[in-house]
């Protein structure tokens, strides 16, 4: 059988192979991109935040609060009175009695490794994701508010009124407890939480605490940082430096 390859055949085979390879290659890239949220999150990651209280100004904290309100759609409740109003993130002033030094803290859910809110929940609505983000499953929440009482950081609030026109990614409703979600909908897309994005400087760093190459891990290894109420041994995901 004559196996000499003429010019026309050569072009045919080469182009067919190229197209084939290109199709397979593009298929691979497409699946890699699309599969980011198809697999369950694992405990190989632990999301955390480091807040530098020396760098973060009072205006910066206010910016974080309004970025959170804007992103998650809370804060415009009409009928809730003072203490009923939700506060996913708040500005807290702490004063050292001896020196009189005043620090401003941005306080939100600390995303504990051992969350007391999860321990006390009677319906398993209060839960911690494998990657360390603590959430309320409002499908199961009965509004008993045990978690609000158990939380040492007063991070959770209760929705006291019927709501409409919620954000598409953040369902909220009367009779359920809510708190900072660490913008889980954004984190799952590879973005950073809204409050972190609102701070332009590196006063607030978000990232994977376990990843040795992440900025948060490296910073935590070099600077002095603290957990609020570290005596409770909750191992919080939100850390503070400069307090």
């Amino acid at each position: 059988m004559n196996k000499t390859l003429n010019r026309r055949d050569f072009i045919k085979t080469t182009s067919a192979t190229t197209i084939g390879v290109a199709t397979v290659a593009s298929g691979i890239t497409l699946t890699t991109f699309a599969s980011t949220n198809k697999v369950p999150v694992t405990n190989e990651k632990r999301w955390g935040m480091l807040i530098d209280t020396n760098k973060l100004t009072e205006a910066g904290i206010d910016g974080m609060v309004s970025a959170c309100q804007e992103e998650q759609g809370w804060g415009s409740e009409l009928h809730s009175t003072g203490s009923q109003k939700p506060g996913w993130i708040k500005k807290l002033k702490v004063k050292d009695k001896a020196t009189g030094k005043v620090s401003n803290l941005a306080l939100m859910c600390q995303h504990c490794e051992e969350p007391p809110c999860v321990d006390v929940c009677p319906t398993n609505a209060s839960m911690k994701r494998e990657d360390g983000i603590v959430l309320v499953d409002k499908h199961l929440c009965i509004g008993c508010r045990y978690c609000m009482m158990a939380c040492p950081y007063d991070a959770r609030s209760f929705v006291h009124e019927a709501l409409r026109n919620q954000k598409e990614h953040m369902p909220r409703g009367k009779g359920t407890v809510e708190s900072c979600t660490m913008c889980v909908h954004k984190v799952d897309k590879g973005e950073v939480p809204a409050c972190v994005a609102s701070v332009n400087s590196d006063a607030v760093i978000f990232g994977d605490l376990y990843d040795a190459s992440s900025k948060i891990n490296q910073t935590l290894r070099t600077v002095q940082s603290a957990q609020i109420r570290a005596d409770l041994n909750l191992n919080t995901g939100v850390r503070y430096s400069g307090i």
Binding site: N37, K38, V39, P40, V41, M127, R129, E130, D131, L135, D137, K138, H139, A162, L163, R164, N165, Q166, K167, E168, P171, R172, G173, K174, T176, V184, H185, D188, K189
Partner: protein, 123 residues
């Protein structure tokens, strides 16, 4: 007599779905002949199970796919008021969800928390 009974029953059953207000995008998909839900009877019967399964996977495991996403249901089955270019809520009387749910007297709890119209900016 039997024939009359069959006619009556067919009318009764079909009346539940007869006036179903499919929603804008869903109607155009149907008109174009494309198949979105493989079996209409399955999706009619067990859409709550699909949604329940999906909600746990999304909330607890972070699996965020479009399949059986409530956002997807809403964006496809919502209707728009032509006069002021605003969406009708899907749980409003006569709209897609409440159409059947009211008829069969099954309460609809999704929308005490979930948004009833597609997100802002998609108008």
């Amino acid at each position: 007599m039997n024939r009359l009974l069959i006619v009556f029953l067919t009318l009764l059953v079909s009346s539940v779905f007869a006036h179903t207000n499919l929603g804008e995008q869903a109607s155009s998909i149907k008109a174009s002949g494309k198949v979105f839900h493989e079996s209409i009877s399955i999706i009619r019967k067990i859409h709550p199970e699909f949604l329940r399964h999906k909600r746990d996977k999304t909330l607890r495991q972070g699996v965020r796919t479009d399949e059986y996403s409530l956002k997807g249901c809403v964006s496809c089955h919502v209707n728009k008021d032509k006069t002021n270019n605003q969406y009708y809520s899907v749980d409003k009387k006569g709209q897609f969800c409440s159409d059947c749910h009211e008829q069969v007297s099954v309460s609809l709890d999704c929308f005490s928390c979930h948004r009833t119209i597609p997100k802002e900016g998609s108008l």
